[in-house]
Amino acid sequence: MRGETISPSPVGLWQRLHLDAPLLVALLALCAFGLVILYSASGQDPEMVIRQLIRLAIAFTLMLAVAQIPPTALQGWSPPLYVVGILMLVAVLVVGDLGKGAQRWLDLGVIRFQPSELLKLAVPMMIAWLLSARRLPPTWPWILLSAVLVLLPVMLIAKQPDLGTALLVASAGAFVLFIAGMRWSMILGILALVAALAPMIWIGMHDYQRERVMTFLNPGSDPLGSGYHIIQSMIAIGSGGVDGKGWLNGTQSHLEFLPERHTDFIFAVIGEELGFTGILALLALYLFIILRGLVITVSAQDRYGRLLAGGLTLVFFVYVMVNTGMVTGLLPVVGVPLPLISYGGTSMVTLMIGFGIIMAIQTHRRRPQV
C-alpha cells in the first residue's frame, strides 16, 4: 500500500486507555443529569438514587473493560455470540411455556439474565460481521440472509412478548444494513412491504398489544391504563412551560398523577420541573452523543468497525426517539426506557457495553501498513 502519510501520531493518554474523551464526558454528564432528576422523581428517596448509582458504576466499569477489547477480536466472537443468544431465547420460550405466562428471564441460578438484551448487541455484530466479508454495498443475497438473521431473534422476542425490545433489535439490524449502503430502492421496497404486512402483524399481536395501539388512537378509551398515563404525562409536560416548576416542585409527579414517573415516564418529570429549556439541554446532550457516534463511524478503519459503530449509535437514537415520542404522545406506548436516565438496570448495562464497543472501534488503531 502506498504511504497514506499517516504519521505515527503521538499516542495520547485517552487512546492508551482506549477511551473517547468527548463521548465519555457527555455520557457522564447525561448520567449525572439522570441522578438529579431521579432524586426528584423517586419522591426524594436516597436509597433509590444510591441503587441507581451502583448500577451506573457497574455499567461504566463494563464499558471500560469492553473498550479494551480490540474490534478484530469482537469480529471473531460475533457469530458464536449470536448463536448463543438465539439458543438462550429459545430456552426462555421453552421455560416460559412450562410456566404459562410472559417469560423474559433466564434463571441461571446465581443471576437472572434477560437474553433479549444480549441480542441488542449480538444482532448488529452478526450483521456487521456478515457484510464485512465482501465489498459494500451488499448485494441482494446478502441482504436477504441478513434479513433472516435479524427477523429470527425479533420474532422470538416478540413472542415473549416484548414488543419494545423486538423493535430495538430489529432497528439495530436494519441500521447496519443502512450504513452499509443498501440501495434506496430496496429500502423503500422493504418499507412498502412492511406497510402491506401491517394487517398481518395486527392479527399476530397479543390482545394487550392491540389494546395499546387502540389506546394510542383514542387515549380516553382506557381510563385505568395507558390512555390515562398519556393524558397525565402531557399535562405534566405542558404545565412545565419555558422554565418549569422547579426541581422537586412538580405537582403532577409528586401528587402521583403521573404514573411510572421514575421509569418509562421520567421524561415528563423533566418537562414539568425543568421546562422547555431543561428538555432542550437534555436533547442537545443526546444529539451530541449520537453525532459523536456517527463521527466515529465515518472515521473507523475497517468495514466491521464502521458498520457496527453506526448500528449501535443509531439504536441509541431509537431509544431516545421511542421514549420521548411515547411520553409526549407522538408515538404509541411501548415499554422503552429513556436511555441512561430511567431507573432500572438491564438496558443501561447493554447500552454502556455498546458505548464500550464504539470506543474500542475509535481507539484501537492499526499501525499504518507499509
Binding site: 500500500m1 419522591g43 450504513i179 385505568l224 399535562i235 412551560g241 436533547l283 443526546y286 463511524t297 453506526g310
Partner: protein, 617 residues
C-alpha cells in the same frame, strides 16, 4: 492491485460517510419533531395545561368487584365474602416508617405477629400498593384512627371483603383458597382488571374458575386535596361482581367421606355418572384454608409444609398411585374387545405365571393358586395369573391404547386447578422417558396395575363412571352452573363427554356383572348391601417390591411402606347414581380398608343409612 484496493477503500469510505450524513440528518429531523411537539405542549399549550394541572384534583381510582360466592348442590354456602376493615400503610408515601409505626401502636394495638406479617408482605409488595399492618379492626378502632387520620400521611383504613370458607378443612383441597397476588400471578392476568384487587384464586375451584369468580373492575373519579386525600367522588362506574358458582358437590357427603377416611392418609372421589358432576372430592389430612387468605405466618406454613402427612397435598387430583387390581375390569374389557378372551374361556392358576422359555415366576397374590378361573371368577377373586396371561396375549400396544380410552395417562380436565395425569406405560413412553426397549414381562405388570403405571383417585372414579355409563366418558366437573350478578337463573356450565367405542355392547353388561360379583361373593363381600346392589373392584398396590421368594407380612413392615388400599365402585348397579374411588395410603388391603369407606359414602348418598346389613366376614 494496490491501486484498486486503495480506490476501493476510498469508495467505501465515501459510501459510509454519505450514509452517516443522511443518518445525522434523519436524527436531527426526528429530534426536531420532538422539539416541535414540546413547543406545542410547553409554549403554545402552557396556559391550557397549567390550568389542567392546577385543577388536577381528579384522580381515577379502581373499585374492585366482589368475588362470586360458591354454593354446594343444596345451596349451602361454601365460600363467602366477609366485610372487614384493615389498616394499610403505603410505604412510598411515609417519610419516617419507624416513627409512624410507633405512633400507630399507641393508637391501635399492633401485635408482634402483625409486625412480622407486615415485614414479610412489605418485601413482596408492588410499589405504591398499601401493605396491611392490622387486619380485622373493630369499629372502635376504626373510629379511633379516623379521628387522628390527618396525622398519618400514607396510612389508610381499607374496607374489604375478605374471603372466608365456613367449612374450612372439609373443602380446602377441592375449593382451594384465595391469596395475595404475587409477581407470578401478575404475569398471567390482565393487570388493569385486577387494579384494586389484592387476592386471586390459588388452587382448586377458586383458581380453575378465576375468570368467572373475579368479575370486572370498576372505577371512580374522585377529587383529592393537595395531600392526596379523597374529598368527594365525582363520577362512578361500579364494578361488575363475579358470578356465583353452584356446585355438584354435596357438603354433607363431603363430610361423610372425610369422616370415613378418619385419620388415614387418603382420598375419596365420588362422581354422579349421569352428569359427570363431582359429589365429593376429599383428600386427608386436610388444613384450614382461612389463614391463607390474610397471609399465614411463616411458622404455621412451614409446619404444614414439612408435616410427614403432607396436608397441603391434594391427593384426590395430584396423588398418583399404582391402580393395582382396580385396573382388572378395564384390562378384562380390553381382552374381550380384542377377542383374546371370552367370558367362558378359563385360565389355570397354579399360584404363579411364567413367560414361555423363562423361569421367572410372576406370583399370584394367593400363593396356593386359584385353580381354573374364567373372567368373572378372576375379577371376583382378583386372580393375578389370569390377568398376567391376558395381558401377555394382548401385548402392551393394545392394552395401553384400550386403557387410554378410559382416560388413564392424561388429565381428566376437571375444574380443580393443577390436576396431574398419572402415567400409562407404553412402548413409546418407555423409549422417550428411559431410552429403553419394552420387555414382555412389563406388560404382565401393567396388566395388574403395578410397576410404572400410575393413576389419580379422580381418574379411577371417572373411568369407573364410564363403566357405569356403559361407555359414556364424561369430564368430571365440580361446578354445575354459574350465576352472573343480577340474573335470576344460574347458567349451566358446558359438559364435555365422549363415547368409548366397543365392538359388542354386551361387553359392558358382562363387565358390570363381573364387578357386581366382587361385592356379592368376591374380595369385597364384607360390604355387601341388601338395600341396593353395588358393583366394584378392590385393589392393593405395592409400595415396594418383594424378592422372588419373600412373603408380604404387614406386621413386619413399617407403616409407610405397607401396601396402599384401593377400591372402585358404582351403585345401584341397575341405574347407577354414584361412582366412587377410594384410596388409603398404606392402608393394607382394598377389601378391608378402602371398601367400607366407599360403602359409608354410598350409603349416605343413596339414603340407606346405617351399615347394619353389611355382612361381616
Amino acid at each position: 492491485m494496490l491501486e484498486s484496493n486503495f480506490d476501493e477503500r476510498k469508495r467505501e469510505g465515501r459510501l459510509v460517510g454519505t450514509r452517516a450524513l443522511i443518518a445525522a440528518f434523519i436524527v436531527i429531523t426526528a429530534l426536531l419533531a420532538v422539539v416541535l411537539r414540546l413547543a406545542h405542549l410547553q409554549l403554545a399549550g402552557h396556559e391550557h395545561f397549567s390550568v389542567l394541572s392546577r385543577d388536577n384534583r381528579v384522580k381515577v381510582q379502581p373499585v374492585s368487584p366482589a368475588r362470586g360466592l360458591i354454593f354446594d348442590a343444596k345451596g349451602i354456602l361454601l365460600a363467602d365474602n366477609h366485610p372487614a376493615f384493615s389498616l394499610e400503610i403505603t410505604i412510598e408515601k411515609v417519610t419516617d416508617l419507624a416513627a409512624t409505626l410507633d405512633e400507630l401502636g399507641r393508637l391501635i394495638k399492633i401485635e408482634p405477629q402483625d409486625r412480622a406479617r407486615f415485614e414479610r408482605q412489605r418485601r413482596q409488595r408492588i410499589r405504591f400498593q398499601g401493605v396491611p399492618i392490622r387486619l380485622n379492626l373493630t369499629p372502635e378502632e376504626v373510629a379511633r384512627f379516623a379521628v387522628d387520620a390527618h396525622r398519618f400521611t400514607g396510612v389508610e383504613i381499607r374496607a374489604d371483603l375478605v374471603r372466608t370458607y365456613p367449612h374450612g378443612e372439609d373443602t380446602a383441597h377441592v375449593l382451594g383458597y384465595v391469596g395475595r397476588i404475587n409477581e407470578q400471578d401478575l404475569a398471567r392476568i390482565d393487570k388493569s382488571n385486577y387494579a384494586g384487587t389484592q387476592h386471586i384464586g390459588k388452587g382448586g375451584v377458586e383458581k380453575a374458575h378465576e375468570s368467572l369468580l373475579h368479575g370486572r373492575v370498576g372505577y371512580q373519579q374522585v377529587e383529592v386535596n393537595a395531600r392526596g386525600r379523597v374529598v368527594r367522588t365525582l363520577e362512578s362506574h361500579p364494578p361488575v361482581s363475579g358470578a356465583d358458582l353452584h356446585l355438584y358437590l354435596d357438603i354433607d357427603l363431603q363430610q361423610v367421606a372425610r369422616e370415613a377416611l378418619g385419620t388415614e392418609r387418603g382420598a375419596v372421589a365420588a362422581i354422579d355418572p349421569r352428569s359427570g358432576g363431582v359429589l365429593a372430592l376429599v383428600s386427608t389430612p386436610s388444613f384450614d384454608p382461612n389463614p391463607f387468605v390474610s397471609g399465614i405466618s411463616q411458622k404455621d406454613y412451614h409446619a404444614l409444609l414439612n408435616s410427614p402427612d403432607k396436608p397441603l397435598f391434594n391427593r384426590a387430583v395430584r396423588g398418583q398411585y399404582p391402580p393395582g387390581s382396580t385396573i382388572k375390569p378395564f384390562v378384562g374389557l380390553a381382552g374381550l374387545e380384542a377377542g383374546v378372551t371370552t367370558p367362558r374361556r378359563s385360565t389355570y392358576c397354579p399360584g404363579y405365571f411364567s413367560l414361555p422359555g423363562h423361569s421367572h415366576r410372576f406370583r399370584c397374590w394367593r400363593r396356593g393358586g386359584h385353580g381354573a378361573q374364567n373372567l368373572q371368577q378372576a375379577i371376583a377373586q382378583s386372580c393375578d395369573v389370569y390377568f398376567y396371561d391376558l395381558a401377555n396375549r394382548l401385548g402392551i400396544d393394545r392394552l395401553s391404547s384400550s386403557l387410554a380410552d378410559f382416560g388413564f395417562g392424561s388429565v381428566t380436565g376437571i375444574d380443580v386447578a393443577d390436576e396431574l395425569g398419572g402415567l400409562l406405560p407404553s412402548r413409546e413412553w418407555k423409549q422417550r422417558a428411559r431410552k429403553e426397549a419394552w420387555y414382555p414381562g412389563e406388560t404382565l405388570i401393567v396388566g395388574i396395575g403395578q410397576g410404572s403405571f400410575l393413576a389419580t383417585p379422580l381418574q379411577l372414579a371417572a373411568a369407573t363412571a364410564a363403566i357405569a355409563n356403559r361407555g359414556q366418558l364424561i369430564q368430571p366437573r365440580v361446578a354445575r352452573a354459574a350465576q352472573p350478578p343480577g340474573e335470576a337463573q344460574a347458567k349451566p356450565l358446558p359438559l364435555v363427554s365422549s363415547r368409548i367405542a366397543v365392538s359388542d355392547e354386551q361387553h359392558w353388561q358382562q363387565l358390570i356383572d363381573d364387578m357386581a360379583k366382587v361385592i356379592e361373593s368376591g374380595t369385597a363381600r364384607r360390604i355387601h348391601s341388601t338395600s341396593y346392589r353395588i358393583a366394584g373392584k378392590t385393589g392393593t398396590s405395592q409400595v415396594f417390591s418383594l424378592g422372588q421368594n419373600q412373603r408380604y407380612n404387614a406386621a413386619k413392615i413399617p407403616k409407610h411402606l405397607q401396601d396402599h388400599a384401593l377400591f372402585i365402585a358404582f351403585a345401584p348397579v341397575e341405574e347407577p347414581r354414584i361412582a366412587i374411588a377410594v384410596i388409603v395410603e398404606n392402608g393394607g388391603s382394598g377389601g378391608s380398608t378402602a371398601a367400607p369407606i366407599a360403602r359409608r359414602v354410598m350409603d349416605a348418598y343413596l339414603g340407606a343409612a346405617g351399615s347394619g346389613d353389611a355382612q361381616e366376614h
